[in-house]
Symmetry: C2
Subunit: 428 residues, 2 copies
């Protein structure tokens, strides 16, 4: 962890000129995959799965037998943790449901907003060597609560053509309709445009590698997507009341995700900064993924000492971190000052992994500063709105002169005519 | 207007293989503009404005004097129509405001969702020869209601370096902070990345030509955007109770937008179909923009006769039209069956231009079938959410085994450690 001043930190941030428009080095590959899936359908999917995942599949859909086999492979402990997590996630997301509304039908005018669930959703779950059952829970539960009719998962198989039993168990617990053995840009193309085995969906959600993320960016507009997720980030704001070993453990938990992960600690205490650095060095040696952690911390691990909490909060709002831990006295009182953060964890006993798996709020959060304008994944991402407008004859005639004036100001005479013809007819 | 069967219509739709990924013919130009704006800042903005709008500007920001001059140029009639439209749009959007919520703090657990307005918004208003004051109202009012601190407009100047007085009047009525004389991809780049005169914004909204739309697609992710808008569409569902001349006028009002506009009439009545076709031919001759209308109707004007209303509604849900008019008996009773539409206009006296200008719901609506997954622009587009999580020591210890089990199932030992260290410390 590099210790720097707020000024140095801002300087580093300014020098980072990365932008979406620059990052088109894999576009050629991704666009070619999309094109081939659109042209050759399933055949392209089997071909790319052999090429990228090293397995020649006979069928894309996971069979009933494979689900049963998976069930036999998971522990009771895991099954029960899954069920409890599901209950918490469901309880939190229930509150996010949205409802249609209509204004009073007075003077012949009725206005409103109809809320409708999306029809079909595809969830991308990363796979291969890794297994992310929590991704299944966090993406499927809000879609189910919204009332989505069909939810499918695509996830890359391992070299034996298998899907992690934990992922299949999670898919069963939340009631997914189909699981397909399919990863990469080809999975995104299949979900976006459909093949004879995989139905085109309305929205694609879920995290993935650079190819998945880029494919999502390309199909965006033809189909809805959740977001373009970047590497994970944590920002811990701490005063001298926070235990250094807790802070270190939490910073390390983000750093293990991948080498691009960012772990930032902002503290008002010089001595705490020193203790955190020491604790990180100590704990790192004991962790399975210490190679990844060390690279991540060297690249994007920072400790910043600030004068007071207000300065820390200003910095947080500039960063707009995915995960923010406020390990300060009276943390809850500062929530109102936080403008930009994906999720805010309060106090010394709300570490970020609590939110990743269990507490209930979604773990799909805006990364790379997009918390300045994006929200956690929620039930609202699986519902959409339609405006409803009904005017009576009299109400329209009352409004007609105003509408005609505005239409004419924009030079749109056919718009004006649509009102005028009703007016004339009435006067006739 | 071409008369076709539902089967022919579906066939036409299937044959339309357009996708976002195909449309990269202007990417080179757009990416070069973005690059130059990032590199040269204001200098690039003046250069592109001279090149594309044919005017060498001295200053990008509209001055106070120009606002005063504009005020003197607009009619009282227009001013009053603007004020009434503003009142209606405000009243409707008020209902969309979202609020933070928190669950009860029982057993030491507090969860919630904090709702925060976006900080800065840029609104793109098309300009040049055209003038769209309604774009100003529809984009700025919801942002204001959300609590956005700074709202700026960019709009291309005419060949004399002027902005339409109606647009400036609308900007003043709704309280815009700045108006810049700037259009095209260069305006989007300036709003996304900032220059010394134009501050980087959090979100860019508003319609524009192909270059603007494509630039928005490229900066998406670095900054939020509303949507990638396509050509306007109307779908009128009518039974024999609907007057043919009203239907014709409404179909024509969409067709005048541009040559790519789509006007579809679905009716249960053979004779009404014939009458609508006749009324269209008759009315078209009287309209200012008849050349555009004729091209649009030839390309995308369709009349489809169906067996019954249910068949019409099925077709509507497949199309997911931007604007839907239900000109049928008991239209309101069918609202529940409409799954996919941007806005639904009920009865014979709710023509689409009523919604464009006046009724209150937003006229920025999802186009090109995206109503299947997108919503009208609303206050919710200018607010974002942060999750709030607070656990007490005891609550975390209760949950610890479950969290550790889930973290280990995903192979993330540093996640498990962040919980374990708190558990060990408590036991010590």
């Amino acid at each position: 962890m590099k210790r720097i001043t707020p000024e140095q930190f801002r300087q580093e941030k300014n020098n980072d000129t990365y932008s979406q428009a620059d990052e088109n080095n894999i576009d050629e590959t991704v666009l070619e995959i999309i094109k081939q899936v659109k042209k050759d359908g399933n055949e392209a999917l089997y071909r790319f799965t052999e090429q990228f995942d090293g397995i020649k599949l006979k069928q894309l859909a996971v069979t009933k037998d494979e689900f049963i086999e998976a069930k036999g492979m998971i522990s009771d402990e895991f099954k029960s943790a899954l069920e409890e997590a599901k209950a918490n996630i469901t309880a939190f997301h229930e509150v996010q449901k949205e409802y249609s509304w209509f204004t009073d039908n007075t003077e012949g005018i009725m206005l409103g907003q109809k809320v409708t669930p999306l029809e079909k959703v595809g969830v991308y779950v990363p796979g291969g060597k890794a297994s992310y059952p929590s991704t299944v829970l966090m993406n499927v539960i809000p879609a189910k609560l919204a009332g989505v009719k069909k939810i499918v998962i695509t996830t890359p198989p391992d070299a034996n053509g298998k899907i992690s039993p934990e992922v299949l168990a999670a898919a069963e617990v939340v009631g997914v309709d189909e699981v397909y053995k399919l990863g990469g840009a080809q999975a995104i193309a299949a979900l976006a445009y459909g093949t004879s085995s995989i139905e085109k969906v309305t929205k694609i959600v879920g995290p993935g590698n650079a190819f998945v993320a880029r494919a999502k960016k390309w199909v965006y507009g033809d189909v809805a997507i959740d977001m373009i997720a970047g590497p994970s980030e944590i920002c811990v704001v701490a005063d001298e009341s926070a235990p250094a070993d807790y802070i270190a453990a939490d910073l390390l938990s983000q750093a293990e995700h991948d080498e691009q992960s960012t772990s930032i600690c902002i503290t008002t205490s010089e001595s705490l900064a020193t203790e955190v650095q020491r604790a990180i060095d100590q704990q790192t040696t004991t962790l399975d993924r210490k190679d990844i952690i060390e690279k991540a911390l060297t690249q994007n691990g920072r400790i910043i000492v600030v004068k007071n909490i207000q300065e820390a909060i200003n910095l947080v709002n500039e960063i707009a971190p995915e995960h923010l831990q406020l390990m300060i006295e009276n943390a809850t009182e500062k929530v109102g000052d936080i403008q930009n953060a994906g999720a805010v964890f309060l106090g010394n006993f709300s570490p970020e992994p609590l939110g990743d798996y269990f507490a209930g709020p979604n773990h799909t959060l805006p990364t790379s500063g997009t918390a300045a304008f994006s929200s956690p994944l929620g039930v609202y991402d699986f519902m959409k709105k339609s405006s409803i407008i009904r005017y009576s004859r009299d109400s329209l005639l009352d409004a007609s002169e105003n509408i005609i004036t505005l239409a004419k100001a924009e030079g749109l005479s056919a718009h004006a005519n649509s009102i005028q013809i009703r007016k004339d007819n009435h006067n006739a």
